[in-house]
Symmetry: C2
Subunit: 70 residues, 2 copies
């Protein structure tokens, strides 16, 4: 039974996919049209991301939203 919060799991998944696609935080931010510092905050689970931004990031990473929540 995992103690990891949903935000932590989500952030880890974003980082994993971003790195696997050889993107910097800034590059991903540009693709998703969010601020560069925001990607770092999401990956570190410092922010409680909204549904619209979850969708933006999933599109920027070229994966289905569901992949980010598995």
């Amino acid at each position: 039974m995992s103690k990891k919060t949903i935000s932590i799991k989500f952030g880890e998944k974003v980082r994993e996919l971003r790195v696997s696609k050889n993107l910097s935080q800034e590059q991903l931010a540009d693709l998703a049209n969010v601020h560069r510092t925001y990607i770092g905050m999401v990956e570190r689970a410092e922010k409680n991301i909204t549904l619209v931004n979850i969708e933006k990031i999933s599109k920027a990473l070229n994966v289905n939203i569901i992949e980010l929540l598995k």
Copy 2:
């Protein structure tokens, strides 16, 4: 190809599942520990819900988060 935003699709799904389980907005709100009117706003896509509240509602509906985003 659907023009429905992710928030609209999400709200419809919440309502569909809530009704199918014979819950009022208020009952679901109590289960999820959010306010009664908030559930209505989410179902009507008037709010851009955050990940933490998505999780609360999915647990209250007793479904996996993924079910709410399909």
